[in-house]
């Protein structure tokens, strides 16, 4: 049901259909994605699977679920950088786990504030950001990209971890609406702002384009991601389906249960994709 708007601009931002938006993402791209409750671009994820993208480096800010499970099951992923992958009450992330066991991608386990800090570092153009905690963990031991230095502001020995900035090519997420200039309403989901600042460009799906100016009032501007960060927008009603979108719509529990059952096996997942990804028996 995506409107086929063709090449177009809102403000200075390209307004694209779902497949053109997905086409901006090349094989091997590093993409940042939000947690399941924060506005996941699931319709765009299905479009990415249809394009048979390969070797994506997915940075979960700071965790993920269905999106990574599907991308892993479809063989799109080369690296997963996350603090957790969980389908919550809908069961185990079987496709993610199977692909991990089969060494189909590189796993970079983190802890939530470490992902946030490394994303914020990129958003400030910093090479690294310090973080407390992590000492003595096997997380640290398995992350050769992290370093421990001695805090130079303490006289006594005070080791502290430095995390290199994470600079994604794209922040990819779904939001309630964009305004006529391509500004996107993100409410208090400030992890979306951090992801956008850190990334070269943000690819955003929205429920709708509204003929308003989010920057016109202090109230609405406070919850806005400004258009300067955005590389493309697609208007996709129910674009987070079957996940929830904030308090706008809820998880599709029946569908998630169905997914949880079908995705137990590679064959079941393939059937799921035939039906809901390739045949587009989905929201879009």
């Amino acid at each position: 049901m995506t409107k086929e708007l063709g090449p177009n601009l809102i403000g200075q931002v390209p307004l694209q259909d779902l497949d053109r938006l997905a086409a901006q993402i090349p094989h091997g791209a590093k993409i940042a994605v939000p947690p399941d409750y924060s506005g996941v671009a699931m319709a765009l994820t299905r479009a990415m699977i249809r394009r048979s993208l390969r070797d994506l480096h997915v940075v979960c800010v700071p965790i993920s679920g269905l999106q990574v499970d599907m991308l892993a099951g479809a063989g799109c992923i080369g690296t997963v950088e996350t603090s957790a992958i969980t389908l919550g009450e809908y069961g185990t992330a079987h496709r993610f786990q199977a692909a991990l066991r089969a060494k189909q991608f590189r796993m970079m386990d983190a802890t939530c504030p470490a992902v946030h800090a490394a994303i914020q570092a990129a958003g400030k153009g910093l090479p690294f950001m310090p973080l407390r905690g992590l000492l003595g963990t096997d997380l640290l031991k398995n992350r050769p990209d992290w370093q421990v230095i001695d805090n130079p502001f303490e006289k006594h020995n005070d080791p502290i971890v430095l995390l290199p900035a994470i600079k994604p090519d794209f922040a990819v997420f779904h939001a309630p609406f964009a305004d006529r200039n391509g500004n996107v309403f993100i409410g208090r989901r400030r992890e979306l702002v951090a992801m956008a600042h850190a990334s070269t460009a943000s690819l955003v799906t929205v429920e709708e384009i509204r003929d308003v100016d989010l920057l016109a009032s202090e109230e609405s501007a406070a919850g806005t991601l400004t258009a300067a960060y955005i590389g493309g927008i697609a208007e996709v009603p129910r674009g987070a389906w079957p996940l929830k979108l904030w308090d706008i719509y809820e998880y599709d529990e029946a569908h998630l249960k169905l997914y949880g059952e079908m995705a137990r096996t590679a064959e079941g997942f393939a059937r799921y994709c035939d039906e809901f990804v390739h045949d587009r028996k989905a929201a879009e």
């Binding site: 947690p35 919550g88 786990q97 991990l100 470490a114 640290l140 502290i160 208090r188």
Partner: protein, 251 residues
């Protein structure tokens, strides 16, 4: 032992509320109905001196700065208490939320991941380890992967750490100097022997171990009415199961 006048969950909730006394700010994470109810009960008993942030709640979530604010609060020293679990927990209070068996990252069992534990465990002064299952599968001599390490007393920066471990059978206090758990109380209906049989790590055990304090009638009433209603917003299924009378009353 005859049927108790309170449920297992009610004992856990009221025990948690007791452990949170004196906190100014408490937060609970995902899938945490019992810690959430315990925190809301403690708040109700605090005379307006405690704030509680229940992840997933609308009415009891005061954070405005995105997913990072909880961690920033902990870094600022404002977050007094938090709850962590573990697929494995060992006798030095190391916790494992990543996986067991095999060779990391290709572990035989894979759990979701470390979430915020690798940070919060170090920063929050009163971390309550909470795992209902009390078994040698969970409470192991040594975890296979350290998502977050128990306190080492090695002089590194560590304002936070575990105060103890609460399970379906007992409450272990954590002795930070000795880096060991000490059996502090066994829940009514259970025994020290039962705890020992189902615990895979060594722990200190006094000659006489108290029974975990049972909630009194006033607290149970408060829990079964106001607190059950408050936590139902975030965990309706939990309330339907644990407080069926409230659920039946249509509250």
């Amino acid at each position: 032992m005859t049927a108790l006048p309170f449920s297992r969950q009610e004992l856990l909730i009221t025990t948690i509320a007791r452990l949170l006394q004196g906190c100014r700010l408490v937060a609970t994470g995902a899938s945490s109905p019992i810690p959430g109810a315990g925190a809301l009960l403690a708040r109700a008993q605090s005379g307006g001196h405690m704030r509680v942030n229940v992840l997933g709640s609308v009415r009891n979530d005061f954070l405005c700065d995105g997913g990072v604010e909880l961690f920033d609060l902990a870094g600022q020293g404002r977050l007094d208490a938090f709850f962590l679990g573990g697929g494995q927990i060992d006798g030095e209070a190391n916790i494992n939320l990543v996986g067991a068996g095999g060779v990391y990252p290709q572990t035989d069992v894979r759990w979701p991941g470390s979430f915020g534990s690798g940070y919060l465990y170090y920063l929050v002064p009163r971390v309550i380890l909470f795992r209902e299952e009390h078994s040698r599968r969970v409470l192991v001599p040594k975890v296979d992967f350290i998502s977050s390490a128990g306190p080492k007393n090695d002089g590194t920066y560590r304002p936070g750490g575990p105060i103890g471990l609460l399970t379906n059978l007992c409450w272990f206090a954590f002795d930070r100097d000795k880096r060991r758990f000490r059996l502090e109380s066994v829940h009514p209906g259970h025994s020290v022997e039962e705890v020992r049989d189902h615990t895979g790590f060594d722990f200190d055990c006094p000659a006489s171990v108290a029974a975990t304090a049972a909630p009194d009638a006033d607290i149970l009433t408060l829990l079964r009415t106001r607190i059950a209603r408050e936590i139902a917003e975030t965990y309706p299924r939990f309330v339907a199961q644990v407080f069926p009378d409230l659920a039946a009353a249509g509250d």
